[in-house]
């Protein structure tokens, strides 16, 4: 599988609710050892939202490294993305189907 096969795909819940598109993938470095690099980066969550451009620009990051300018943040703040854990994914095809508890 390639990252590009996840990015931009539509995500729906088992009951058919549309959550939006995949805007990013959150990785955690706790996989098996890989040569010089060390522990592999494991896919932990997918970040899903409707038109959540803020994510790609860095405004949605957990550590809040990008703050200003106020104007840009206000324009982008309208659309927040949600983090869906990998374990909630049921099927990856044309659409990505996730469990209902991923969308409270």
């Amino acid at each position: 599988m390639r990252l590009s096969e996840l990015m931009g795909h539509e995500v729906v819940t088992e009951s058919g609710r549309v959550l939006g598109k995949v805007h990013d993938v959150y990785l955690v470095q706790d996989g098996p050892m890989l040569g010089e690099w060390g522990a592999a980066l494991r896919v932990h969550e997918i970040i899903v939202g409707k038109r959540s451009y803020a994510t790609r620009l860095g405004y949605d990051r957990r550590d809040a490294q990008v703050k200003g300018p106020v104007l840009v943040r206000l324009l982008l703040a309208l659309r927040r993305a949600r983090h869906v854990p990998w374990s909630a994914i049921r099927e990856i095809g044309e659409r990505i189907i996730v469990t209902d508890d991923a969308a409270p």
């Binding site: 931009g8 598109k21 451009y53 790609r56």
Partner: protein, 154 residues
């Protein structure tokens, strides 16, 4: 981001618009006396610009302030500029008898300008910079007449 195809289409549209915009420049027919007069006035404006530039260049060169190559390039350029404006104007169809008169009047002026600018260019090419001031003298009167024409094209 999923907007890319839309942006690509927009970019295509922009390029198409630009192509159109650059084509619009070509002459369009004059349907009424009013548009004809406007075109005539615009032509006169372009020619005044060329005439006044030529006068300044001739004056500088005559006073020993400009080099031969510069003078010669600039004067040829003005001759060409005025010539192009004249050609464009003459290819516009005058809509009625009233515009014929305007056409004749401006045409006479433009011909005189063209003769003087050619004389200047020829002298400059030959390196006879000292003659330029004298040759440019009639342009002053022509420029005044053209300005009068711009204010009242009839």
């Amino acid at each position: 981001m999923g907007t890319a195809p839309g942006v690509a289409r927009l970019a295509g549209l922009v390029v198409a618009c630009l192509l159109c915009a650059s084509c619009i420049k070509t002459i369009s027919p004059a349907r009424t006396t009013h548009t004809y007069l406007r075109k005539a006035a615009h032509t006169a404006e372009v020619v005044v610009s060329a005439v006044e530039t030529a006068r300044l260049v001739a004056k500088s060169a005559g006073d020993g302030k400009a080099f031969g190559p510069y003078t010669s390039v600039m004067l040829s350029e003005q001759e060409e500029q005025a010539g192009q404006a004249q050609d464009t104007f003459e290819s516009v169809q005058p809509p009625n008898a009233r515009s014929d008169k305007v056409r004749d009047h401006l045409g006479t002026l433009l011909n005189k300008v063209s003769d003087q600018l050619s004389a200047l260019r020829i002298a400059a090419r030959r390196g006879e910079l000292d003659k330029l001031s004298r040759l440019a003298r009639p342009l002053r009167e022509l420029s005044k007449k053209l300005n009068k024409f711009i204010e009242n094209p009839e």
